[in-house]
Symmetry: C2
Subunit: 196 residues, 2 copies
Amino acid sequence: MNKAVREPSRRMGPEGSANWHAMLDGAEDILREEGYGALTSRNIAERIGVKQRLVYYYFQTMDDLVVAMFRRLSVRELERSRQALKSERPLREIWDVCIHTSDARLISEFMALANHIEGLRTEVIHFIEESRAIQARALSAALKNKAKGRVPPIGLAMIATSLALSLNREAELGVSAGHKEITKVIKDFLAEIEPK
Amino acid sequence: MNKAVREPSRRMGPEGSANWHAMLDGAEDILREEGYGALTSRNIAERIGVKQRLVYYYFQTMDDLVVAMFRRLSVRELERSRQALKSERPLREIWDVCIHTSDARLISEFMALANHIEGLRTEVIHFIEESRAIQARALSAALKNKAKGRVPPIGLAMIATSLALSLNREAELGVSAGHKEITKVIKDFLAEIEPK
DNA sequence: GTCTATACACCGATAGAC
DNA sequence: GTCTATCGGTGTATAGAC
């Protein structure tokens, strides 16, 4: 968690190489399936068929690995959102990104970890702010020529994000009370301001 | 030849005793401050000034302790919600419960743990369903004599819960984009259907 | 780049004395 | 009820050979 000051740093494997990705892939699977309590260098190594020592050739510490894992994921997600902006029906695309985002279990783990790993916290903050801005932009444009409701675009963005998160998390748990109703509200909203 | 399959297993300390509560209190603090990776019998014991062995006198396993911790918390929260139902202005009270619920870090940890501890998952599901039902009842009653909007009570309950969760979590992280706007929307909604 | 081998701390859980 | 003592296992991280 600390030991921030490091010697000229030891030799390191290159970011973006095959093994680097394989390690992050394995880490994602473990995080999703077993939680961060099981996210260890030994487990990652075993899962991808290398020795534990190699993990520390690619990542200085486990915290570094976690941060790299989230950053790789958030870059992908933000790119999807930015692409959605340019589409025919940006609102539907963006809602699709929200609701089909990397699964709820993974996100739950990152949210918990972000409270304890400073570097991850920074990345998460950046991701939330960036994606909210993208969504607000899309909503703003879509609502420009409509009668304004009482919820401003950035407020709608916040509602969308938090709803999608809860819908996914609860569906994962096996709770569904209210889901049907909310899904219909969203559907109607989209049909109204962004007809197919 | 004994292996505790049919025996009530070993002696256990009484649920609800002073030490039992002290252990859960300590566990809550650790979970909030350091995360479940640090939630160990040794840390709990040290924090409340007893020896590690004693934790296993009160709880058979660490998982049992986690489940007991959540159950104690959820009983309290549900009681607060039920009390809110009986108040003068139930909607405001219930929103207050949502937004001032035990802090976001703690909840994040429980959400992550629920994906990996079966007994906890069951408790969490029960808590969500129960509190959603209470909230829907309150909203239903409050909206009875009003013009119906397009969001049914249980949908509003779901929006409220997920929004409160996100507002708390993001505030904890240090994100505030859209918070002011959403807070105003809620305030206006309450002013309209439940005037002071 | 990948490995063997290792240091050292800490984990859950139990046996059994007082 | 609370303790000492201990088991077998796993964690991060490093040294250094090939």
